[in-house]
């Protein structure tokens, strides 16, 4: 069993005051993961300049943990190089939130997957542009 009281103060803060909600204009990469039937969907858009993520925004349908991890991951990736960003895992996001209830750990996978999908999308786009050039 778990109850909502188990959410850390940081989770509640990121849930109540989520950072970086929305979509980056002309994103360098975007990733949408999850499934409404499973109860959570996350869309992450990133802006990359000179190999560094300069902006990241999210939109999430999901529980408190899904929203808080989405918010946290946007904070964590900003200023990071692509290689550094790829080192972010669901565990590091959860740790940055002072942990999640055990049963909610799977929600943080959404944030990691969305980040990987957005980076993948960015890499595909840049590869295409390089080809064109």
């Amino acid at each position: 069993m778990y109850n909502l009281e188990e959410y850390s103060a940081k989770v509640m803060d990121h849930y109540q005051n989520p950072r970086n909600v929305g979509e980056v204009e002309n994103p360098s990469g975007e990733g949408t993961v999850g499934n409404p039937a499973c109860g959570d969907v996350m869309k992450l858009t990133i802006k990359v300049e000179n190999g560094r993520i300069v902006d990241a925004k999210f939109k999430t349908f999901g529980c408190g943990a899904a929203i808080a991890t989405s918010s946290m991951v946007t904070e964590m990736v900003k200023g990071k190089t692509i290689d550094e960003a790829l080192k972010i895992s669901n565990k590091t996001v959860a740790e940055a939130l002072d942990g999640l209830p055990k049963i909610k750990m799977h929600c943080s996978v959404l944030a990691e997957d969305a980040l990987k999908a957005a980076i993948e999308d960015y890499r595909k786009k840049t590869a295409r542009q390089e080809k064109k050039a």
């Binding site: 039937a37 109860g39 939109k59």
Partner: protein
């Protein structure tokens, strides 16, 4: 900050008059009803029998047809296992529905392991069992039908009367878990045509840890708890005298207030529903639009996950059928049995109004819901795509 309680299907606060009636039996009047040799025992026995009369009166039964239990879960267990074992020589088939309380479903599953066959009938999109499907499921091996009176999640009132009539016609015993109906809407055993019926104290402003099983005269059951022959040998163990007194008083008071309170709660519930429907788009009602419990409302707010909505309204005590609020990580089996799409099952909210709730609180909830649904939809990647 006062948290406004709107989860009365989960439990209710203990009524002041009920507590007052119970107190002497937790202090001075501590006697054991089985002590036949002195006044302590006599007064405890009188209190238990008075309560038995009050419970019987609420459901239109004879006092000797009431067996006190530790709660409705035990009453359901006693009814189903009790009948199953007492009538095993007649057959081994039981009929129930997919949306019963776990106290019924898990008991049936247990009996399946003991060799009984159980039919779990489906429900329609309102959560309603079709009496004709019950009829169709009866075989010459059927010994028991168990269908709840009111569903605790979606508030749908089942056609128990019709099912009871079919059971009588076919000569099959009929049990009903009436936990959510008793004390809130008229629950009379002769009208509902049930042979067994389970009720609970804490769902009607009585104490936790006490319930009762109605057992129609002439119906046999096997006892689950053996001992000193209490409750006509059907439920051994020294009586929970304060609990029994509390249940009796709660039944008496609920019976007295029922008509007026049901009207008031229906009006309040409709005000809430209208407020939500006028202020928020893409909201879906779960359960039956008319045949539902007065205080119950179950809604799905599309594109907004239930737990996150509840989390944003921490000054309201409400619940959700979303997978994210359950430890099993599965959506409510009741909503899924009603074929509510899975995406919407995650978006459900259950609001159960009770005696303490006011128009002002309901209006405040509508306002909070509008604000937070808008905020969360703004955040939802699914919303813009519509």
């Amino acid at each position: 900050m006062k948290i406004i309680y709107m989860d009365h299907n989960a439990t209710t606060p203990l009524d002041d008059e009920v507590l007052e009636a119970m107190m002497p039996y937790m202090t001075d009047k501590f006697g054991n009803p089985s002590s036949s040799t002195h006044a302590y025992g006599w007064e405890a026995r009188r209190a238990v029998e008075e309560a038995r009369g009050q419970v019987a009166e609420l459901i239109g039964a004879h006092p000797e047809e009431i067996i006190f239990t530790s709660g409705a879960t035990e009453a359901d267990n006693l009814a189903i296992k009790g009948v199953a074992h007492a009538y095993r020589d007649r057959g081994s088939h039981i009929i129930t529905s997919q949306i019963e309380h776990k106290a019924v479903l898990e008991t049936c599953k247990y009996l399946e392991k003991q060799g009984f066959k159980v039919t779990y009938l489906p429900v329609d999109c309102y959560g309603m069992v079709d009496p004709e499907e019950v009829r169709g499921a009866i075989t010459d091996k059927t010994i028991l039908i168990s269908i709840m009176f009111v569903n605790s999640e979606v508030g749908t009132i089942e056609p128990v009367e019709k099912i009871g009539a079919i059971a009588r016609e076919k000569g099959v015993l009929f049990h009903s878990d009436a936990v959510q109906g008793a004390g809130k809407i008229e629950t009379k055993v002769d009208k509902l045509k049930t042979d067994l019926l389970a009720i609970s104290g804490h769902k009607m402003y009585g104490p936790k840890g006490i319930g009762a099983l109605y057992l129609k005269k002439g119906v046999k059951i096997e006892s689950l708890i053996h001992g000193g022959g209490h409750e006509r040998g059907l439920r051994a163990g020294t009586e929970n005298v304060p609990g029994i007194v509390g249940l009796g008083k709660a039944c008496q008071k609920a019976g007295r207030l029922m008509e007026e309170e049901a009207k008031r709660l229906t009006k309040l519930r409709n005000r809430l529903y209208q407020g939500v429907m006028n202020g928020i788009k893409r909201v879906y009602l779960n359960g039956h639009p008319e045949k539902r419990l007065p205080g119950n409302l179950n809604l799905s707010f599309e594109f907004v996950e239930g737990e996150s909505l509840i989390l944003s309204m921490k000054n309201f005590a409400i619940s959700s059928g979303s997978a994210c609020t359950s430890s099993s990580l599965k959506s409510s089996y009741v909503l899924l049995a009603m074929k509510v799409p899975e995406a919407l099952s995650h978006c459900s909210l259950r609001i159960c109004l009770g005696r303490s709730n006011t128009e002002e609180e309901v209006d405040c909830l509508v306002e909070e819901l509008s604000k937070n649904v808008a905020r969360l939809r703004e955040m939802s990647p699914l919303y813009k795509e519509v």
